[in-house]
């Protein structure tokens, strides 16, 4: 792969990382900790929302994030023809 293409591939990878890690931070440190008290005034079923994010929701978000990353990167690898045969 030419140097220019490699650079483009890497830039796209970094962009994905930035977006996914922002969601990671928002779900756990944001909804689960920093805004947890205000979110607790909202109730979903029997769960105060801040408490739910801290003990359930953030973990579900983590799992989904990794599979979204796998999907995005597999697509990116094909696009730049750097995937493994």
């Amino acid at each position: 792969m030419s140097g220019k293409n490699a650079q483009k591939y890497w830039q796209r990878n970094l962009k994905y990382l930035f977006i996914l890690l922002s969601i990671w931070f928002l779900a756990s440190f944001g909804c689960g900790i920093l805004f947890a008290e205000s979110l607790n005034s909202i109730k979903v079923g029997g769960f105060p929302l801040g408490f739910w994010f801290a003990q359930q929701g953030s973990i579900y978000v983590f799992v989904v994030l990794i599979f979204v990353y796998v999907y995005l990167m597999n697509k990116l690898d094909k696009e730049f023809d750097v995937d493994e045969k």
């Binding site: 756990s28 920093l34 607790n40 079923g45 029997g46 408490f51 003990q55 953030s58 796998v70 493994e84």
Partner: protein
């Protein structure tokens, strides 16, 4: 049948299963011994990683801790799962592409320095050994309590089992036994939770059940909040006054530590391709999440059941489980006002009941009056969790010695056969050493686990991240960063942990940060120092810069350990 005979039967069957798997998956080469030949499927590796990761602490202690902490227990739940996102996105695919055997391998080659390799291997041994001693102790306790053999006999049985499959099979044997152990431990953890969820709220899914309604139509969590407040505790679902800073820092330190622990990272060397490493991290977190989303439900069920069973009830009418745990001194009752009833309240002067948090998972099925075989299953699950983690950690210790120390430093001409023998001797020595240390555990074992996470976070994590994402990073920067990060973290933890002999008091905490959360500052310190020093010293050689270019793209991942 009694709980004890059920325990003998179920534990016996699971142990026979592990030994059978170990004989089937023997290792014939160093590559099989270190990385299971690099041919493990991402799904199997995901399960093995999950079993490797979830220790006796996750399995036996975590739900109990949460049930006494309420909201703040989230620091363990998020901290021990969120690190996998960092691992999957920032480390696993690149380390797999790099394709060697160990974490010190990466540090040594990326920073073209045997000194860096030795620093890394010492950290790896220190982190893993402190961890494994606690696992051995857990095995001893589980045997002692339920099979009624002496504590030391319990540890000897544990040593014999791990010895057998770790020495024989290396990473290959360990991987496939861990798959079996995952199945045992997750089944054993979820079955009682499902039973109790059905009993209390009529919902078979505990994750939804603890937000459900009781038979009187009120929400379970509202009920628990009310019970807690009535007894003088704070509301179960609310954040305490000074919780926010520490929940934030401890969560972050556990996440960074998770992503830097060598026995977890090394699992991603065992899959065939880079894309498998990515996917495998996803499977691993999925399998871990099953336990980690069930644990907070168990915590709520157990807490509610406990309060309703004991609070203001006559001591003479307590069920048999209460008496049994009282005999082993893990529950103690002191009738201060002599009314014959149990006052369980937040006020220390009026409270009459002390409960060891570690017993909640083991006692929970009894509190909920579940059948004897369920209780036996929980014991087998606890043993699976402890044994699988111990085996993974012991392998890191053995590889550090046979591969990083002997092959790469002291005896570069050692033959493949010689290295394999050295690896087996090293793991045998590590199993016995850990067992002996588990017999006489230093009192500070629990404290040292905080140290292990802090050290992993402040040493490995930044060194690996910078090695991949900063092409300009050189050995001067990485080594000075690792040393400053580790020293700072170790000194802060020692200073503020009276159990380790430090003189500090909580008033002296920097910005109110507890020692468990200081690894975050150590990590940042490491990053900053590494970046500054690297810019003031010469760039790394051309060959290293090309290596970094190469690990950034998946194609050509080839075989792990290619070039050995």
């Amino acid at each position: 049948m009694s709980v004890q005979s059920w325990t003998f039967i179920i534990v016996g069957i699971t142990f026979a299963l592990y030994i059978g798997v170990a004989i089937w998956a023997r290792a014939g080469s160093t590559k099989e011994f270190y990385v299971a030949g690099g041919g493990v499927s991402p799904l199997a590796n995901g399960m093995a990683t999950a079993a490797d990761w979830m220790s006796a602490a996750s399995y036996l202690s975590m739900a109990g801790l949460i049930s006494f902490m309420g909201y703040s227990g989230a620091q363990y739940l998020m901290g021990w799962t969120g690190g996998y996102v960092l691992l999957a996105l920032l480390l696993a695919p690149y380390l797999r592409k790099f394709g060697k055997f160990t974490v010190p391998d990466f540090i040594g080659e990326r920073y073209y320095s045997n000194f860096a390799r030795v620093v890394a291997l010492l950290c790896a041994i220190l982190v893993s050994f402190t961890y494994v001693v606690g696992q051995m102790k857990g095995v001893g306790i589980a045997f002692a309590r339920f099979l009624e053999v002496p504590f030391s006999t319990g540890i000897f049985i544990g040593i014999a089992i791990v010895f057998f499959y770790a020495v024989l099979g290396g990473m290959k044997g360990i991987t496939y036994t861990q798959v079996a152990q995952y199945c045992v431990l997750i089944f054993a953890f979820t079955v009682p939770a499902i039973f109790i969820s059905l009993q209390m709220v009529g919902n078979p899914i505990p994750q939804l059940g603890f937000g459900g309604t009781l038979s009187d139509g009120s929400y379970l969590l509202d009920k628990l909040n009310m019970l807690s407040v009535d007894l003088g505790f704070s509301e179960y679902t609310s954040m305490g006054m000074d919780d926010r800073v520490n929940v934030f820092f401890i969560t972050a330190a556990l996440m960074l530590g998770t992503a830097g622990l060598p026995h977890v990272i090394v699992r991603f060397f065992t899959v065939p391709r880079v894309r498998d490493a990515r996917k495998s991290a996803g499977y691993a977190l999925f399998f871990i999440a099953i336990l980690y989303t069930t644990a907070p439900a168990i915590a709520v069920f157990a807490r509610t059941n406990l309060i309703q069973t004991v609070s203001n009830q006559p001591y003479s009418e307590m069920p048999t489980w209460f008496k049994k745990w009282e005999e082993s001194k893990l529950i103690s009752f002191d009738d201060k006002n002599k009314d014959g009833r149990i006052q369980y309240v937040a006020d220390k002067n009026l409270n009459e009941l002390d409960i060891d948090r570690d017993i909640m998972v083991l006692a929970n099925p009894e509190i909920a009056k579940l059948p004897a075989w369920v209780i036996a299953l929980v014991v087998a699950g606890g043993l699976a969790a402890a044994l699988s983690t111990a085996a993974g950690l012991l392998l890191v210790i053995a590889t550090s010695i046979s591969h990083d120390l002997l092959k790469k430093n002291l005896m570069p001409n050692i033959s493949e056969k010689g290295e394999l023998i050295a690896a087996r001797v090293a793991i045998a020595a590590a199993v016995i050493g850990a067992g002996l240390a588990g017999l006489n555990p230093p009192g500070f074992v629990a404290q040292v686990v905080a140290l292990a996470f802090g050290l992993a976070a402040s040493s490995f994590f930044p060194a690996i991240i910078l090695g991949i994402f900063d092409k300009r990073m050189n050995k001067e920067g990485a080594i000075s960063g690792m040393i400053c990060g580790i020293l700072f973290t170790a000194i802060y933890i020692w200073y503020f942990k009276p159990q380790l002999g430090g003189p500090g008091t909580p008033d002296g905490y920097w910005f109110g940060i507890k020692p468990e959360g200081i690894g975050v500052i150590g990590t940042v310190l490491n990053l900053v120092i590494a970046l500054v020093v690297s810019r003031l010293t010469p760039p790394p050689p051309q060959g290293i810069q090309e290596l970094v270019e190469d690990i950034r793209i998946p194609r050509g991942s080839g075989e792990p350990g290619a070039g050995h």
